[in-house]
């Protein structure tokens, strides 16, 4: 596959028109019928997957989905998710993926924003704690207010938004194929006859393209562990004689590095993680435990994989993937991209003049062509590889009736919120309100109520985590002293 460039399609054409005809059938589903392609609790071969996709195609057609149509999937990682996604694409539709962990409030907002013609959910709320995949029964519902695709994108994803509502990120089928071609060119990335144990969610870019789509495209069988504990993951890795690569986020590498007596895993080739920076010391710890490298990748929802260090020999630097153009502007990494991945958003601070602004600080090694990512330049943080914009959390809190002002910070790997509330505000009520509005991974781990938020000398809200914590501690001490004094009177 050659000839694809980043987002090359003008947005006015039908979805999938920049990819070869029948690309899902020819490039993802084709292959020997008896070849195992997925393992979610039980092996699934290509014949079985094709039959499941066909069954879902019939059901989705029956609710009116067709070329140029739009559909939103709210399904947990599951065989049903795979079959429905491929069926929707096969029908020529534009697919929006909604994380199944989003609250009803967030899904309603996403549906209002995206206006899909069909919403596919699960007939029952699947159990999710510690599970790598669920048993989901897809139910497709036609939405009368839905609108057909207005752009040529095949995939629409939502990212936690810096201005409150989620940001819409879209990719064409041609761009997904370009990314798959990048993976194919990486010798160390799983290919034909190999196997991937996938720990990242197939609803997000790493698990979706690097795991699921690459597995189908490159004929590398994909296994998702039933249980996402160290024992469950190791059991999945040990369950095959094929050369195996584990793909996940740094937390999964921490989990595996913490296993005291792992079984012998002679077929384990490497683990590859992405989604956030890797803690110094973790690659060496992982390699001591398993005798194989902990590789890293850098990517973003907008483009998929950007740079890799699959052998862990360049750490913390990475080599850009095939065709990736990079430059630094005032310390920010920018990527060559022919068109904006943000439909309906005209924001030159995110994309302008053929360059995508990553909002990541980086260093480029001109001679070696390597890139080292240093961290975010904005308010986005990563919780277990899931991106959360602190501004979205702050605005959601401020919208609660009891909250006058809120400051949300990230410290020690956790989100913390400091709130100035109306008199008599109840912490439990606030937490309930937040639970209805924000997915669990976005919610602050610590909520502190203060009479007033501390400010700098110039009147700006203070955002230093240590100073905020001191203020909260002082407020609690002072409240306790007042209570004691009142009791003594």
């Amino acid at each position: 596959m050659t000839g694809f460039s980043l987002s090359p399609v003008p947005p006015s054409v039908l979805p999938h028109s920049d990819a070869p005809d029948d690309w899902v059938d020819r490039l993802l589903l084709a292959g020997p019928g008896g070849e195992e392609c997925l393992h979610l609790g039980a092996p699934i071969d290509r014949d079985a997957l094709r039959a499941l996709v066909e069954e879902q195609s019939v059901r989705l057609s029956a609710v009116g989905l067709g070329p140029g149509g739009t559909v939103a999937l709210r399904l947990p990682p599951s065989l049903a998710f795979v079959a429905v996604l491929l069926a929707c694409w096969r029908l020529g539709a534009q697919v929006a993926l909604l994380d199944h962990r989003l609250t009803d409030h967030e899904v309603d907002a996403a549906v209002a924003r995206l206006a899909p013609q069909v919403l596919v959910g699960s007939a029952h709320r699947p159990a999710a704690a510690l599970r790598g995949f669920s048993e989901a029964e897809p139910v497709a519902v036609a939405l009368p207010e839905g609108r057909p695709a207005r752009t040529g994108h095949a995939l629409v994803q939502l990212s936690s938004g810096s201005t409150g509502p989620a940001k819409v990120i879209a990719r064409t089928a041609g761009d997904l194929l370009r990314e798959l071609d990048c993976y194919r060119r990486l010798e160390e990335f799983p290919g034909e006859g190999e196997r991937v144990v996938l720990l990242s969610s197939v609803v997000h870019v790493l698990g979706l393209v690097g795991g699921l789509l690459n597995g189908l495209y490159a004929h590398a069988a994909l296994t998702v562990p039933e249980r996402m504990t160290a024992a469950g993951i190791l059991a999945a890795v040990a369950g095959s004689d094929r050369p195996t690569t584990v793909i996940g986020v740094p937390f999964h590498a921490e989990l595996l590095a913490g296993a005291v007596t792992p079984p012998p895993l002679p077929r384990l080739r490497r683990m590859v993680v992405a989604g956030e920076l890797v803690r110094p010391g973790l690659p060496a710890l992982f390699t001591r435990r398993y005798g194989v490298p902990l590789g890293t990748m850098y990517g973003m929802t907008e483009t998929g994989v950007i740079a890799t260090d699959l052998d862990g020999t360049l750490h913390p630097a990475k080599r850009p993937v095939h065709g990736m153009r990079m430059r630094l502007v005032k310390g920010e990494l920018q990527l060559g991209a022919a068109s904006s991945p943000y439909p309906g958003l005209d924001d030159p601070t995110r994309w302008s003049d053929g360059w995508l602004h990553t909002r990541d600080a980086a260093e480029l090694d001109g001679a070696g062509g390597l890139v080292t990512v240093l961290g975010r330049l904005d308010s986005q943080v990563s919780i277990g590889g899931l991106k959360v914009d602190l501004t979205e959390v702050e605005q959601t809190l401020t919208a609660l009736p009891e909250v006058r002002e809120a400051v949300v910070v990230f410290d020690g790997g956790a989100i913390e919120a400091y709130l100035a509330t109306e008199p008599g505000a109840d912490l439990a009520l606030l937490q309930d309100g937040l639970t209805r509005r924000l997915a669990a991974y976005k919610r602050p781990r610590r909520l502190a109520l203060l009479p007033a938020l501390p400010r700098t000398a110039t009147g700006k809200l203070l955002r230093d985590p240590a100073a905020l914590r001191d203020t909260a501690t002082a407020a609690v001490t002072s409240a306790a002293a007042a209570a004691t004094a009142a009791a003594a009177r």
Binding site: A128, A235, E254, P263, R446
Partner: protein, 106 residues
């Protein structure tokens, strides 16, 4: 069936904090009181490894954990429930289940 499975070998709050400190190789006194789902997953793995069990945790129980105390209570109860179930199956009560660490079970 007499007696209940023993619980005196189960970790208390201080020991749970020490387990959490191993996540990211932190000092025990820097472990915050509030827990996230990643830390809870880490703790489940530690408990399973230590007691050679596979713990059954439902979504509601998992989602309700906010603090080290909540996690200690939930995981101690889960281990005891597993022991009770095992004891009932084998006809022995008040008996510690010893098994290979879960990490060694392929």
């Amino acid at each position: 069936m007499t007696g209940a499975p023993r619980s005196d070998d189960l970790p208390d709050r201080a020991e749970v904090r020490t387990m959490l400190a191993a996540f990211g190789q932190r000092a025990a006194d820097t472990v915050p009181e509030e827990l996230g789902s990643l830390e809870l997953t880490w703790l489940v793995a530690e408990f399973e490894q230590r007691y050679g069990l596979q713990l059954d945790l439902d979504d509601d129980g998992f989602g309700a954990v906010r603090t080290v105390d909540d996690a200690t209570e939930l995981l101690r109860a889960a281990v005891l429930a597993q022991r009770t179930a095992l004891a009932q199956r084998t006809g022995h009560a008040g008996h510690t289940v010893h098994a290979e660490p879960a990490g060694a079970q392929p």
